[in-house]
Protein backbone atom coordinates (compact mmCIF):
# COMPACT_ATOMS: atom_id res chain seq x y z
CA UNK A 1 0.00 0.00 0.00
CA UNK A 2 1.24 3.48 -0.86
CA UNK A 3 0.43 6.37 1.43
CA UNK A 4 1.04 10.07 0.98
CA UNK A 5 1.67 11.84 4.25
CA UNK A 6 1.39 15.56 4.87
CA UNK A 7 3.92 16.38 7.54
CA UNK A 8 3.35 19.28 9.91
CA UNK A 9 6.13 21.86 9.85
CA UNK A 10 6.06 22.03 13.67
CA UNK A 11 7.06 18.38 13.76
CA UNK A 12 10.24 18.82 11.76
CA UNK A 13 11.61 22.14 12.98
CA UNK A 14 15.19 21.41 13.96
CA UNK A 15 16.66 22.57 17.22
CA UNK A 16 19.01 25.51 16.94
CA UNK A 17 21.88 23.41 18.28
CA UNK A 18 21.43 20.92 15.42
CA UNK A 19 21.57 23.69 12.82
CA UNK A 20 24.72 25.07 14.39
CA UNK A 21 26.32 21.66 14.76
CA UNK A 22 25.78 21.06 11.03
CA UNK A 23 28.15 24.01 10.60
CA UNK A 24 30.70 22.79 13.13
CA UNK A 25 29.50 25.01 15.98
CA UNK A 26 29.15 23.12 19.23
CA UNK A 27 26.61 24.04 21.90
CA UNK A 28 29.24 25.51 24.24
CA UNK A 29 30.00 28.33 21.80
CA UNK A 30 28.52 31.72 22.69
CA UNK A 31 27.14 33.20 19.48
CA UNK A 32 27.80 36.78 18.45
CA UNK A 33 24.59 38.77 18.06
CA UNK A 34 24.95 38.98 14.28
CA UNK A 35 25.25 35.18 14.00
CA UNK A 36 22.30 34.67 16.34
CA UNK A 37 20.28 37.03 14.15
CA UNK A 38 21.14 35.01 11.04
CA UNK A 39 20.15 31.83 12.86
CA UNK A 40 16.84 33.36 13.99
CA UNK A 41 16.14 34.52 10.45
CA UNK A 42 16.93 31.06 9.02
CA UNK A 43 14.55 29.43 11.49
CA UNK A 44 11.86 31.92 10.55
CA UNK A 45 12.39 31.23 6.86
CA UNK A 46 12.37 27.51 7.49
CA UNK A 47 8.93 27.82 9.07
CA UNK A 48 7.56 29.92 6.23
CA UNK A 49 9.13 28.11 3.27
CA UNK A 50 9.24 24.41 4.12
CA UNK A 51 6.41 22.37 2.61
CA UNK A 52 7.13 18.94 4.03
CA UNK A 53 5.44 15.88 2.67
CA UNK A 54 6.25 12.22 2.45
CA UNK A 55 5.34 9.05 0.65
CA UNK A 56 5.73 5.51 1.91
CA UNK A 57 5.04 2.14 0.35
CA UNK A 58 5.18 -1.35 1.80
CA UNK A 59 7.31 -3.64 -0.31
CA UNK A 60 7.90 -7.39 -0.20
CA UNK A 61 11.44 -8.53 0.42
CA UNK A 62 11.78 -10.12 -3.01
CA UNK A 63 10.71 -6.89 -4.69
CA UNK A 64 13.22 -4.93 -2.65
CA UNK A 65 15.93 -7.38 -3.73
CA UNK A 66 15.32 -6.27 -7.31
CA UNK A 67 15.30 -2.59 -6.34
CA UNK A 68 18.47 -2.96 -4.31
CA UNK A 69 20.34 -4.56 -7.22
CA UNK A 70 19.32 -1.47 -9.19
CA UNK A 71 21.52 -0.93 -12.20
CA UNK A 72 24.02 -3.53 -11.02
CA UNK A 73 26.50 -1.00 -9.69
CA UNK A 74 26.65 -1.89 -5.97
CA UNK A 75 30.20 -2.72 -4.98
CA UNK A 76 30.81 -6.13 -3.44
CA UNK A 77 29.36 -6.96 -0.03
CA UNK A 78 27.50 -4.06 1.57
CA UNK A 79 25.71 -3.51 4.88
CA UNK A 80 22.33 -3.14 3.17
CA UNK A 81 22.74 -6.43 1.28
CA UNK A 82 23.42 -8.21 4.56
CA UNK A 83 20.72 -6.43 6.60
CA UNK A 84 17.60 -6.68 4.47
CA UNK A 85 17.41 -10.50 4.10
CA UNK A 86 16.77 -10.65 7.87
CA UNK A 87 13.92 -8.15 7.69
CA UNK A 88 10.29 -8.91 8.46
CA UNK A 89 8.91 -5.82 6.77
CA UNK A 90 10.25 -3.21 4.39
CA UNK A 91 8.92 0.11 3.12
CA UNK A 92 10.23 2.48 0.50
CA UNK A 93 9.96 6.12 1.44
CA UNK A 94 10.69 9.63 0.26
CA UNK A 95 10.38 12.98 2.00
CA UNK A 96 10.75 16.46 0.61
CA UNK A 97 10.72 19.98 2.00
CA UNK A 98 9.51 21.27 -1.36
CA UNK A 99 11.02 23.66 -3.87
CA UNK A 100 10.61 26.95 -2.07
CA UNK A 101 13.25 26.36 0.57
CA UNK A 102 15.80 25.04 -1.96
CA UNK A 103 15.10 28.04 -4.19
CA UNK A 104 15.69 30.39 -1.29
CA UNK A 105 19.02 28.71 -0.45
CA UNK A 106 20.14 29.04 -4.07
CA UNK A 107 19.03 32.65 -4.14
CA UNK A 108 21.06 33.40 -1.02
CA UNK A 109 24.23 32.03 -2.60
CA UNK A 110 23.61 33.84 -5.88
CA UNK A 111 23.23 37.15 -4.06
CA UNK A 112 26.28 36.74 -1.83
CA UNK A 113 24.21 36.04 1.30
CA UNK A 114 26.54 33.16 2.04
CA UNK A 115 26.10 32.94 5.81
CA UNK A 116 22.33 33.18 5.47
CA UNK A 117 22.25 30.51 2.72
CA UNK A 118 24.50 28.18 4.65
CA UNK A 119 22.42 28.57 7.82
CA UNK A 120 19.17 27.84 5.98
CA UNK A 121 20.78 24.90 4.19
CA UNK A 122 21.85 23.47 7.55
CA UNK A 123 18.33 23.94 8.93
CA UNK A 124 16.77 22.34 5.85
CA UNK A 125 19.10 19.33 5.95
CA UNK A 126 18.19 18.72 9.58
CA UNK A 127 14.50 19.29 8.81
CA UNK A 128 14.50 16.79 5.93
CA UNK A 129 16.07 14.19 8.20
CA UNK A 130 13.38 14.86 10.80
CA UNK A 131 10.77 14.30 8.10
CA UNK A 132 12.29 10.92 7.27
CA UNK A 133 12.38 10.11 10.98
CA UNK A 134 8.66 10.88 11.26
CA UNK A 135 7.87 8.45 8.45
CA UNK A 136 10.00 5.80 10.10
CA UNK A 137 8.32 6.25 13.52
CA UNK A 138 4.92 6.14 11.88
CA UNK A 139 5.84 2.92 10.10
CA UNK A 140 7.10 1.40 13.37
CA UNK A 141 3.81 2.29 15.02
CA UNK A 142 1.87 0.60 12.23
CA UNK A 143 3.95 -2.52 12.71
CA UNK A 144 3.48 -2.64 16.46
CA UNK A 145 0.32 -4.76 16.35
CA UNK A 146 2.08 -7.34 14.18
CA UNK A 147 4.50 -8.26 16.96
CA UNK A 148 3.99 -9.66 20.44
CA UNK A 149 7.04 -7.83 21.75
CA UNK A 150 7.84 -4.70 19.73
CA UNK A 151 10.77 -3.88 22.01
CA UNK A 152 12.83 -6.54 20.26
CA UNK A 153 12.12 -5.02 16.85
CA UNK A 154 14.15 -2.31 15.21
CA UNK A 155 13.60 -0.21 12.11
CA UNK A 156 16.32 1.81 10.40
CA UNK A 157 16.54 3.79 7.17
CA UNK A 158 19.04 3.15 4.39
CA UNK A 159 19.43 5.32 1.31
CA UNK A 160 20.98 4.98 -2.16
CA UNK A 161 24.34 6.70 -2.17
CA UNK A 162 25.24 5.43 1.29
CA UNK A 163 26.53 2.19 2.83
CA UNK A 164 27.53 0.79 -0.57
CA UNK A 165 24.06 1.08 -2.09
CA UNK A 166 24.91 2.80 -5.33
CA UNK A 167 23.15 6.07 -6.10
CA UNK A 168 21.82 4.49 -9.33
CA UNK A 169 19.56 2.45 -7.03
CA UNK A 170 17.36 5.54 -7.07
CA UNK A 171 16.06 4.58 -10.53
CA UNK A 172 14.26 1.41 -9.51
CA UNK A 173 13.31 2.91 -6.16
CA UNK A 174 11.57 5.76 -7.99
CA UNK A 175 9.90 3.40 -10.48
CA UNK A 176 8.34 1.52 -7.59
CA UNK A 177 7.60 4.34 -5.13
CA UNK A 178 6.64 7.10 -7.59
CA UNK A 179 7.62 10.04 -5.37
CA UNK A 180 6.69 12.31 -8.27
CA UNK A 181 3.30 12.23 -6.56
CA UNK A 182 4.72 14.53 -3.89
CA UNK A 183 6.78 16.58 -6.32
CA UNK A 184 10.13 14.78 -6.19
CA UNK A 185 11.72 14.06 -9.55
CA UNK A 186 14.86 12.18 -10.44
CA UNK A 187 17.58 13.58 -12.64
CA UNK A 188 19.39 11.47 -15.23
CA UNK A 189 22.26 11.27 -12.77
CA UNK A 190 19.95 9.83 -10.09
CA UNK A 191 19.81 12.96 -7.99
CA UNK A 192 16.59 14.37 -6.62
CA UNK A 193 14.85 17.65 -7.17
CA UNK A 194 14.02 19.45 -4.91
CA UNK A 195 17.44 19.18 -3.33
CA UNK A 196 16.14 18.93 0.21
CA UNK A 197 14.61 15.49 -0.24
CA UNK A 198 15.48 12.14 1.27
CA UNK A 199 14.63 8.72 -0.12
CA UNK A 200 15.39 5.15 0.83
CA UNK A 201 14.07 2.04 2.48
CA UNK A 202 12.96 1.43 6.05
CA UNK A 203 14.02 -2.04 7.09
CA UNK A 204 12.19 -3.52 10.09
CA UNK A 205 12.96 -6.73 11.88
CA UNK A 206 14.82 -8.10 14.90
CA UNK A 207 17.21 -5.44 16.21
CA UNK A 208 20.19 -7.73 15.65
CA UNK A 209 19.89 -7.56 11.85
CA UNK A 210 21.00 -3.93 11.92
CA UNK A 211 24.18 -4.62 13.86
CA UNK A 212 27.26 -4.96 11.65
CA UNK A 213 30.99 -4.41 11.83
CA UNK A 214 31.79 -1.40 9.70
CA UNK A 215 34.58 -3.12 7.84
CA UNK A 216 32.92 -3.46 4.45
CA UNK A 217 34.85 -2.21 1.39
CA UNK A 218 32.55 0.82 1.22
CA UNK A 219 33.31 1.62 4.87
CA UNK A 220 36.99 2.11 4.05
CA UNK A 221 36.11 5.12 1.93
CA UNK A 222 33.59 6.55 4.38
CA UNK A 223 34.44 9.09 7.08
CA UNK A 224 30.85 9.25 8.30
CA UNK A 225 30.60 7.16 11.43
CA UNK A 226 26.90 7.83 11.98
CA UNK A 227 26.10 4.15 11.37
CA UNK A 228 27.78 3.38 14.69
CA UNK A 229 25.61 5.95 16.48
CA UNK A 230 22.48 4.55 14.83
CA UNK A 231 23.32 1.00 15.81
CA UNK A 232 24.10 2.07 19.37
CA UNK A 233 20.88 4.08 19.61
CA UNK A 234 18.90 1.05 18.43
CA UNK A 235 20.55 -1.14 21.06
CA UNK A 236 19.64 1.38 23.76
CA UNK A 237 16.00 1.72 22.73
Amino acid sequence: MTEIIRIKIEDIIPEQKEVLLNQGITSDVVLEDKIQNILDQAMKEFRSLAEPSGIIKDIPKEDFARIYIGEGMNEGPTPVADVYPGADYLALFAVTLGERISDRINHCFKTNLFAEGCMLDAAASAGADHGAEILQRRYEKQLSDKYDDISKIGALRYSPGYCGWHISGQKKLFESLEPEKIGITLRETYLMDPLKSVSGVIIAGPKEIHQFENNYPCCEECDDQSCLDRMQALKNE
Binding site: I25, V29, F114, Y162, H166, M192, C218, E221
Partner: protein
Protein backbone atom coordinates in the same frame (compact mmCIF):
# COMPACT_ATOMS: atom_id res chain seq x y z
CA UNK B 1 48.45 52.91 5.08
CA UNK B 2 45.54 53.44 7.44
CA UNK B 3 42.87 52.79 4.86
CA UNK B 4 44.18 49.26 4.25
CA UNK B 5 43.86 48.48 7.96
CA UNK B 6 40.36 49.90 7.96
CA UNK B 7 39.35 47.77 4.97
CA UNK B 8 40.91 44.66 6.50
CA UNK B 9 39.30 45.25 9.90
CA UNK B 10 35.87 45.97 8.42
CA UNK B 11 36.16 42.83 6.36
CA UNK B 12 37.02 40.78 9.42
CA UNK B 13 33.90 42.13 11.10
CA UNK B 14 31.83 41.14 8.07
CA UNK B 15 30.76 44.73 7.49
CA UNK B 16 30.18 44.62 3.74
CA UNK B 17 28.77 48.14 3.54
CA UNK B 18 31.81 49.66 5.21
CA UNK B 19 34.20 47.61 3.05
CA UNK B 20 32.44 48.93 -0.07
CA UNK B 21 32.64 52.54 1.17
CA UNK B 22 36.33 52.23 2.08
CA UNK B 23 37.21 50.49 -1.17
CA UNK B 24 35.47 53.25 -3.09
CA UNK B 25 37.39 55.83 -1.06
CA UNK B 26 40.69 54.10 -1.80
CA UNK B 27 39.90 54.13 -5.50
CA UNK B 28 38.95 57.80 -5.33
CA UNK B 29 42.31 58.45 -3.65
CA UNK B 30 43.98 56.87 -6.72
CA UNK B 31 45.43 53.96 -4.80
CA UNK B 32 46.44 51.12 -7.12
CA UNK B 33 43.85 48.35 -7.47
CA UNK B 34 46.48 45.67 -6.82
CA UNK B 35 47.42 47.33 -3.54
CA UNK B 36 43.82 47.66 -2.37
CA UNK B 37 43.30 44.01 -3.21
CA UNK B 38 46.49 42.70 -1.61
CA UNK B 39 46.90 44.98 1.42
CA UNK B 40 43.24 45.53 2.20
CA UNK B 41 40.89 42.77 1.11
CA UNK B 42 43.20 39.75 0.90
CA UNK B 43 45.09 40.84 4.04
CA UNK B 44 41.76 40.91 5.88
CA UNK B 45 40.72 37.52 4.56
CA UNK B 46 44.07 36.05 5.57
CA UNK B 47 43.35 37.00 9.19
CA UNK B 48 39.87 35.53 8.89
CA UNK B 49 41.38 32.32 7.52
CA UNK B 50 43.83 32.06 10.41
CA UNK B 51 41.09 32.76 12.96
CA UNK B 52 38.92 30.05 11.42
CA UNK B 53 41.79 27.59 11.29
CA UNK B 54 42.43 28.07 15.01
CA UNK B 55 38.71 27.89 15.89
CA UNK B 56 38.59 31.48 17.09
CA UNK B 57 35.70 32.10 14.70
CA UNK B 58 33.23 29.79 12.96
CA UNK B 59 31.84 29.29 9.48
CA UNK B 60 29.12 31.99 9.56
CA UNK B 61 31.71 34.64 10.44
CA UNK B 62 33.93 33.49 7.56
CA UNK B 63 30.97 33.75 5.21
CA UNK B 64 30.07 37.23 6.42
CA UNK B 65 33.69 38.25 5.80
CA UNK B 66 33.50 36.67 2.35
CA UNK B 67 30.44 38.73 1.54
CA UNK B 68 32.35 41.83 2.60
CA UNK B 69 35.26 40.72 0.41
CA UNK B 70 32.91 40.40 -2.56
CA UNK B 71 31.53 43.88 -1.88
CA UNK B 72 35.03 45.26 -2.30
CA UNK B 73 35.86 43.00 -5.23
CA UNK B 74 32.75 44.11 -7.11
CA UNK B 75 34.20 47.61 -7.20
CA UNK B 76 37.70 46.45 -8.13
CA UNK B 77 36.77 43.91 -10.79
CA UNK B 78 36.00 46.33 -13.65
CA UNK B 79 39.38 47.97 -13.08
CA UNK B 80 41.37 44.77 -12.68
CA UNK B 81 41.35 43.95 -16.38
CA UNK B 82 42.10 47.54 -17.31
CA UNK B 83 45.10 47.70 -14.99
CA UNK B 84 46.15 44.13 -15.81
CA UNK B 85 45.84 43.08 -12.19
CA UNK B 86 46.54 39.37 -11.95
CA UNK B 87 44.84 36.98 -9.62
CA UNK B 88 47.12 34.57 -7.81
CA UNK B 89 45.75 31.65 -9.79
CA UNK B 90 42.78 30.22 -11.63
CA UNK B 91 40.83 27.24 -10.32
CA UNK B 92 37.98 25.33 -11.95
CA UNK B 93 35.73 23.82 -9.31
CA UNK B 94 32.64 21.63 -9.31
CA UNK B 95 30.82 18.76 -7.67
CA UNK B 96 31.43 15.47 -9.39
CA UNK B 97 28.91 13.95 -11.80
CA UNK B 98 26.11 12.22 -9.95
CA UNK B 99 26.50 14.38 -6.87
CA UNK B 100 24.20 17.28 -6.13
CA UNK B 101 25.61 18.27 -2.76
CA UNK B 102 27.34 21.53 -3.45
CA UNK B 103 27.40 23.46 -0.20
CA UNK B 104 30.99 22.39 0.55
CA UNK B 105 32.09 23.20 -2.97
CA UNK B 106 30.42 26.62 -2.71
CA UNK B 107 32.31 27.35 0.49
CA UNK B 108 35.62 26.36 -1.08
CA UNK B 109 34.87 28.67 -4.02
CA UNK B 110 34.03 31.56 -1.71
CA UNK B 111 37.20 31.03 0.31
CA UNK B 112 39.39 30.69 -2.80
CA UNK B 113 38.02 33.95 -4.19
CA UNK B 114 38.62 35.52 -0.81
CA UNK B 115 42.24 34.45 -1.02
CA UNK B 116 42.64 36.12 -4.41
CA UNK B 117 42.06 33.23 -6.81
CA UNK B 118 39.90 33.46 -9.90
CA UNK B 119 37.31 30.73 -9.55
CA UNK B 120 35.29 29.15 -12.34
CA UNK B 121 32.45 27.34 -10.61
CA UNK B 122 30.85 24.71 -12.84
CA UNK B 123 28.16 23.88 -10.28
CA UNK B 124 27.10 20.40 -9.31
CA UNK B 125 26.61 17.14 -11.18
CA UNK B 126 29.46 18.06 -13.54
CA UNK B 127 30.65 15.53 -16.17
CA UNK B 128 34.43 14.93 -16.54
CA UNK B 129 34.46 16.42 -20.04
CA UNK B 130 33.27 19.77 -18.73
CA UNK B 131 36.00 19.96 -16.06
CA UNK B 132 38.72 19.13 -18.56
CA UNK B 133 37.46 21.33 -21.39
CA UNK B 134 37.03 24.33 -19.09
CA UNK B 135 40.49 23.86 -17.60
CA UNK B 136 41.95 23.77 -21.13
CA UNK B 137 39.91 26.67 -22.51
CA UNK B 138 40.56 28.93 -19.53
CA UNK B 139 44.14 27.89 -18.95
CA UNK B 140 43.43 26.97 -15.34
CA UNK B 141 46.08 26.23 -12.76
CA UNK B 142 44.02 23.65 -10.96
CA UNK B 143 40.80 21.68 -10.93
CA UNK B 144 39.00 21.25 -7.61
CA UNK B 145 36.72 18.24 -7.32
CA UNK B 146 34.17 17.74 -4.60
CA UNK B 147 31.96 14.76 -3.67
CA UNK B 148 29.79 13.94 -0.69
CA UNK B 149 28.77 10.42 -1.58
CA UNK B 150 31.07 7.40 -1.41
CA UNK B 151 29.30 6.13 -4.51
CA UNK B 152 30.11 9.22 -6.58
CA UNK B 153 33.65 9.92 -5.37
CA UNK B 154 34.90 7.28 -7.79
CA UNK B 155 33.93 9.73 -10.56
CA UNK B 156 36.96 11.81 -9.52
CA UNK B 157 39.20 9.22 -11.12
CA UNK B 158 37.24 9.59 -14.37
CA UNK B 159 38.25 13.26 -14.46
CA UNK B 160 41.89 12.40 -13.84
CA UNK B 161 41.84 9.66 -16.48
CA UNK B 162 40.41 12.12 -18.99
CA UNK B 163 43.05 14.70 -18.06
CA UNK B 164 45.69 12.09 -18.83
CA UNK B 165 44.21 11.25 -22.20
CA UNK B 166 43.86 14.97 -23.00
CA UNK B 167 47.49 15.53 -21.96
CA UNK B 168 46.83 18.12 -19.25
CA UNK B 169 47.52 15.85 -16.28
CA UNK B 170 50.47 17.27 -14.36
CA UNK B 171 50.13 20.64 -16.08
CA UNK B 172 46.83 21.35 -14.36
CA UNK B 173 46.85 20.22 -10.74
CA UNK B 174 43.96 18.34 -9.18
CA UNK B 175 42.76 18.96 -5.64
CA UNK B 176 39.97 16.85 -4.16
CA UNK B 177 37.80 17.15 -1.10
CA UNK B 178 34.49 16.19 0.45
CA UNK B 179 33.27 14.11 3.36
CA UNK B 180 34.14 10.61 2.06
CA UNK B 181 37.48 11.57 0.50
CA UNK B 182 40.84 10.95 2.17
CA UNK B 183 44.51 11.60 1.52
CA UNK B 184 44.96 7.89 0.71
CA UNK B 185 42.13 8.03 -1.80
CA UNK B 186 43.72 11.11 -3.41
CA UNK B 187 47.02 9.25 -3.80
CA UNK B 188 45.26 6.16 -5.08
CA UNK B 189 43.50 7.99 -7.93
CA UNK B 190 46.45 10.24 -8.75
CA UNK B 191 45.13 13.56 -7.44
CA UNK B 192 47.88 16.06 -6.66
CA UNK B 193 46.36 17.39 -3.46
CA UNK B 194 43.79 16.49 -0.83
CA UNK B 195 42.05 19.14 1.27
CA UNK B 196 40.28 18.26 4.50
CA UNK B 197 38.29 21.50 4.53
CA UNK B 198 37.82 24.71 2.59
CA UNK B 199 40.53 26.64 4.33
CA UNK B 200 42.96 23.78 3.85
CA UNK B 201 42.15 23.86 0.13
CA UNK B 202 43.02 27.55 0.05
CA UNK B 203 46.29 27.04 1.92
CA UNK B 204 47.25 24.10 -0.28
CA UNK B 205 46.64 25.94 -3.53
CA UNK B 206 48.29 29.11 -2.25
CA UNK B 207 51.39 27.10 -1.37
CA UNK B 208 51.34 25.50 -4.81
CA UNK B 209 51.09 28.75 -6.79
CA UNK B 210 53.75 30.32 -4.59
CA UNK B 211 56.25 27.50 -5.05
CA UNK B 212 55.82 26.72 -8.74
Amino acid sequence: MEIFNQIAESLQKGDHEKVAILTRKALDDKIAVQQILDDGLIAGMNVVGEDFKHHRIFLPSVLLAARAMYAGMDLLKPLMIKEDVRTIGKVVIGTIKGDLHDIGKNLVGIMLKGAGFEVIDLGNDVPPEKFVQTAKDDNADAIGLSALLTTTMTGMKDVIDLMKSEDIYGKVKVIIGGAPVSREFAEQIGADFYAFDGMNAVETLKAYVKDR
